[in-house]
Amino acid sequence: MTPDLFFEQLVNGLSLGSLYALIAVGYTVVYGIVQLINFAHGEIFMMGAFGAYTVWLLAGSPTELSAAAALGLLLPAMILGGILVAVGTALLTERFAYRPLRGAPRLAPLISAIGISVFLQEFVRLFYGRIPGFPDSKRAIPFPHIEGISGNSIQLGDVSIKMTSVFTVAALLICTAFLWYYINRTKTGRAMIATSQDPDTARLMGIDVDRVIMSAFAVGAALAAVAGVAHGMYIGNIDFKMGFMAGLKAFTAAVLGGIGNINGAVVGGVVLGLVEAFAGQVGDTAWKDVWAFVILILVLVFRPQGLLGAKVVDRA
């Protein structure tokens, strides 16, 4: 492998890994607090992408914006719209599909999550395109061109880095910084840590555990929505089933890092992205998904606690 090719794959891996990491955080935060694998989380990511796209449509599908307007106005509005749709969807599913099953055997909410996943995919596939003025959602929809990012790249000596990659990696860094602050420095964050360690005792401290659970779903959904926008720009299009594979990969990343461990989700995502990029280079690109799940199985067999270790439940 030439140095240039190596660098190219490094950037590809980091971009892909950042997407996985942003989604993986949602799996891990929710798991850490309610021990639920939210299999609909991939669809929350998809809803975020569609939410952002819808903002663009409602803004009149602008195509000739200056870079300043696109980056200063359109993109922030799209991200915000994506976050609102994703968080709204996540809170509704939590309230109506998971909360009623909280005392039930663990399998029940898991099946409910799979049901929600199918529901959201079909909902977008069948209904989104029927709204007047909205594009056919049965096929991939080209994601809007964001002047200043889409199609641009920066030159580092001989190698060029696509701006969409820069955006994706930057999104992960910024979101991780926010997340760190939120978990470690806010009262709600402290309540989340306490609840993940011992929910009953958290209740005795006066913590409203329902609210903590909602916060966990909301935080995960917000990051997934950012990933949805980044994915739209990086890949170039969105579709109703984009959350399926991305969700599975991000889940793999969360397990790889240690499910329940937020740092682990970020590390797991980036590692998985890099492995896919380089494995695709060494062997056949078509095999990259296979490597992701080979990793999942190897981790489950040989290091089920993940790279950084799962949340250790330690009770007196």
């Binding site: 360690q197 011992d198 958290a202 005795l204 401290m205 329902d210």
Partner: protein, 235 residues
Amino acid sequence: MLEVKGLEVAYGRVKAVKGISFGVESGQVVTLLGINGAGKSTTLRAISGLVPPAAGEIWFDGERIDSLPAHKIVERGIAQSPEGRRLFKNMSVEDNLLLGAFSRKDADGVKRDLDRVYGMFDVLSRRRDELAGLFSGGEQQMLAIGRAMMSQPKLLMLDEPSMGLSPIMTQQIMATIKELRSEGVTILLVEQNAQAALSLADKGYVLEVGNIAFSDTGKALLKDDRVRRAYLGAD
């Protein structure tokens, strides 16, 4: 202050508490005695709102609280130091204490109570940044009581504060409870160490498999033959 009427709690089909009634007056130390599985901890969990009662009523300060969520009950002024202490072991002493004050909005008052707890427990004050899991059983118990005090409770419920502690440590914890009582804190105490509990208590209730068998003042129960045989090791 606290009035429990005909409380029943069931886990699945098993009734752990079968219709008990008792009361705690303001300023009193009241103890619930009984063997393992008599339903003492379950009773406290029901009062705190961690398990829903199957029947009966719980009143606190003239308000019925048995259908309130747990965090609302803390806001009303009932704190519990649970069985086994249940500290957040990966957090520092100070973070544990601050979580105890989670429901409070008065930052100045929280600061004052933090100083008060540190004043009561010197070892916590000296090692406030260390992780709670690194402390000895007795020190952890002090932290658990301190944490419960941080919500500024009107009623403090202590579940087995002497469990697993050495006799010396037990004495120290009991001295702490005495000190709290002299400050006017109302206490509901669940203890297996009947001798220690009854010497402190204004009133004691003896639970036998989910029912109140009998009750009296702490002094009278110390001399009661049934209590002496069952809980104090007399023949």
